[in-house]
């Protein structure tokens, strides 16, 4: 994670990011002036929310401390959630199209259920709210933002309405396109928004997004570590995706054999297709013995990283019964591999694997 982004929290600076001719008078005076001059054609909810928005912008412009601004935004969010979803989506769309924004000095932070609890800019705040308004309207507005934004954080949060599932889930090709744009933007390579959005790979579970992430990691970008973690979380939740990708591209991770070994160590050996893939890997003479030993030292890898995620619940990829079944299947496989002449040079590593698995199978009650 980039240092300068981490240090954002120390700043209390609020500054205009985009300059627009907004009134500088207090909001109450503006509202009064509007009501005296002519009736506003917009529904009352629109007027009220737009007024609150101007207050937030003014507050940032004035430069308050980040903690009190954070509390204010959280309160605003709670209040706005009481509005009719279509009204709120309409107002948010209008405000986003206006292009006004202000930095908050609050670091980007994801909380439970993908809801943000830290909004670095007011437009990110709007996009966070948009995701829980009317989903039909939100998808359209989000696509407008995705097409035009220069902010990785806005891009990451704007993807949320496209990942809701059901009728609102964006088609695979569209998600793959957005993900490639995100990974391919040179200006976003060290942005916290990019690191957060890498979770799209796990969430969408598409061959295309997994492949895009893997090839990006293979090029060793500045945020490679975040990419490796996202790949591991994808492989932990969808081991078949990772295995098929690696099997289909013999050159992938040739420069990072330890990564390839650890990703494959997440395979579910009780699935015959994955079992066949692993056996092919272990018999493949092109794979160095040292890499296979690394694989066997970790297999079956059932450790994982977790935490709050932008696109859903924290990763929780393992199931107790499945782990026990896989351990039993892996023990059977290890017994076979030990007698396989093609794996003779892995004898010590296989012996060690077998002992480890015997212990786990015993612990698991079999």
């Amino acid at each position: 994670m980039p240092r300068r982004l981490l240090l954002l929290g120390g700043s209390v600076l609020c500054a205009w990011l985009a300059v627009r001719a907004l009134p500088t008078a207090p909001t109450s005076a503006i509202t009064e002036s509007i009501s005296r001059s002519a009736p506003d054609p917009r529904p009352r909810g629109h007027v009220r929310l737009a007024g609150e928005w101007r207050e937030l912008v003014a507050l940032c412009e004035k430069g308050g401390d980040a903690e009190s601004l954070k509390r204010r935004l959280a309160e605003t969010k709670e209040r706005w959630l009481l509005e009719e979803p279509e009204v709120l989506a309409g107002v948010i769309g209008q405000l986003l199209r206006q292009g006004d924004d202000a930095a908050t000095g609050i670091p980007f932070e994801t909380g439970p259920g993908g809801a943000l609890r830290g909004w670095p800019t007011l437009r990110v705040f709007l996009l966070d709210m948009l995701a829980v308004t009317d989903p039909d309207l939100a998808g359209g507005i989000a696509r407008e933002v995705l097409a035009g934004t220069g902010s990785a954080e806005e891009f990451a949060v704007a993807l949320k309405p496209l990942l809701l599932g059901g009728p609102w889930q964006a088609p695979a090709a569209e998600l793959e396109g957005h993900f490639s744009r995100l990974l391919g933007n040179p200006a976003w390579q060290d942005k916290v928004g990019l690191a957060e959005a890498l979770d799209l790979s796990r969430n969408a579970a598409l061959p295309g997004t997994t492949a895009a992430l893997a090839r990006w990691v293979d090029r060793a970008p500045p945020a490679a570590e975040a990419g490796i973690m996202a790949l591991h979380e994808t492989a932990a939740a969808h081991p078949k995706l990772a295995l098929e990708l690696i099997a289909s591209d013999g050159t992938l991770f040739n420069a990072q054999p330890g990564l390839r070994a650890s990703l494959l160590a997440r395979a579910t050996i009780s699935d015959p297709e994955q079992a066949a893939g692993i056996e092919h890997y272990l018999r493949n003479p092109a794979i160095p013995v040292s890499e296979k030993q690394q694989f066997l030292a970790l297999f079956p890898l059932r450790s994982a990283s977790t935490g709050f995620r932008l696109y859903g619940s924290p990763p929780s990829p393992f199931d107790g019964a499945a782990v026990r079944a896989d351990d039993r299947a892996a023990l059977d496989a290890a017994g076979r591999w030990k007698t396989d002449p093609a794996m003779a040079e892995l004898g010590t590593a296989l012996q060690s694997l077998e002992q480890r698995l015997q212990g786990w199978v015993r612990q698991g009650g079999d």
Partner: protein, 383 residues
């Protein structure tokens, strides 16, 4: 409780060996050695007998994933424990950002220590009986005037330069003012444990005199100590481990019957859903019954929607803070009523705010089969 120190007492509160007779007593009973590859550290069993906590740097190095660590509980000796006393863990969880921070700042930066915690899980209990409780407000309590102490297995008592062997040690219970540094990383001076003790338990005494696990020892110098302090965020770890165990928080509630409060909410009367309208119908329930700083530990749903065609329906729950989760997404085309009984919806809501508006959102997107929400009940549990 603690052997008196010879001569003039040092200003620094340094670890002392815990007597053999105390090893089987709480809170020392929950401590153990954590062995990971060639490394050793400390750990403690909390919230579930099959879970122990330690420092992330004990189980994860900058090379990548390692085999799960082993646990040795109740041990005291000059030499390493025998191999047969080890209980291997089956896996572990740690924060995603931990590896990023190690790569960016190294393993000994303040920001890295602020994520330096791991939960290891096993297929058999690490201790018999009821485990220790976590103090989800440890980050606050350690900065207040609560009595705290640190236990674990230091390899060396760095303040006095004595060997720690493989003996359980403890600092003296004392009011130690921990100071915030970065995120969950707190820091105190005049407090010393020793190398090899990473992952040791930072105990916080509650007003009833009970010890709870308020943090994990992650760093130290001869007279300084750094800890990862517990907060509601750690519930993400418990939620992640939940499917591989038997629901840690539920079983704890059952066993102990404390530290959890709940509220039950129900809609007052049936609600018709507009047929063929592609917009949300909202059924709100308000919660205002939990103390400040309480966070959601469990959400259980009872739902009964009558319809001839449940494939037309999309149902979601919107919680306080904008936490949103789809319950039903048009599955079951051609089938009738939608029923959920004791449906656990904790996943996305765990760790969030319990007080506020909980809204059921329903759409009947295709015309022709009217739908009625007959029952919508939520049980919110918070700690």
């Amino acid at each position: 409780m603690f052997p008196a120190m010879a001569g003039e007492a040092p200003k620094t509160n340094s670890s002392q060996r815990v007597g053999e007779e105390q090893l089987g007593q709480a809170p020392y009973y929950y401590n153990g050695l954590v062995l990971s590859g060639g490394a050793r550290g400390s750990g403690f069993v909390a919230e579930h007998p099959n879970i122990f906590f330690t420092a992330a740097h004990v189980v994860f190095d900058d090379v990548g994933w390692t085999s799960p660590p082993s646990w040795v509980g109740g041990y005291n000796g000059e030499g390493a424990p025998p191999a047969e006393s080890e209980i291997p863990a089956r896996g572990y969880f740690r924060w995603t950002q931990y590896a990023n921070l190690v790569a960016e700042y190294g393993p000994t930066s303040r920001s890295t220590f602020g994520r330096d915690v791991a939960l290891a899980w096993g297929l058999q209990p690490f201790v018999a009986g009821i485990p220790a409780s976590l103090d989800f407000k440890g980050i606050s309590h350690l900065q207040q005037s609560n009595i705290s102490m640190i236990t674990g297995y230091p390899a060396e008592l760095i303040y006095t330069a004595e060997s720690g062997g493989y003996y359980l040690h403890s600092t003296a219970p004392d009011i130690t003012p921990f100071k915030p540094t970065f995120g969950r990383y707190l820091y105190a001076t005049h407090l010393s444990t020793g190398p090899g003790n990473s992952g040791g338990q930072v105990w916080v005494q509650d007003p009833m005199g009970n010890w709870k696990a308020g943090g994990v020892l992650v760093s130290g110098r001869p007279s300084e100590t750094g800890v990862y302090a517990m907060s509601a965020d750690i519930k993400s770890f418990l939620a992640a481990a939940d499917p591989v165990l038997s629901s840690p928080r539920r079983s704890m509630k059952f066993v102990k019957g404390v530290s959890t409060s709940s509220t039950l909410l129900a809609m007052p009367k049936p609600k018709n859903i507009p047929d063929g309208a592609q917009r949300w119908t909202r059924i709100p329930l308000s919660v205002l019954s939990f103390p400040d700083e309480a966070t959601v530990s469990k959400v259980t749903l009872q739902l009964d929607i009558s319809t001839a065609h449940r494939g037309d329906l999309i149902v979601a729950l919107l919680g306080p803070g904008g936490v949103f989760s789809i319950i039903h997404n048009g599955e079951g085309a051609g089938e009738d009523n939608l029923l959920y009984e004791d449906y656990d919806m904790s996943g996305p809501f765990a760790g969030g705010e319990p007080d506020g508006r909980w809204t059921l959102l329903v759409q009947d997107r295709l015309a022709g089969d009217p739908a009625v929400v007959n029952r919508f009940e939520l049980e919110i549990e918070a700690e």
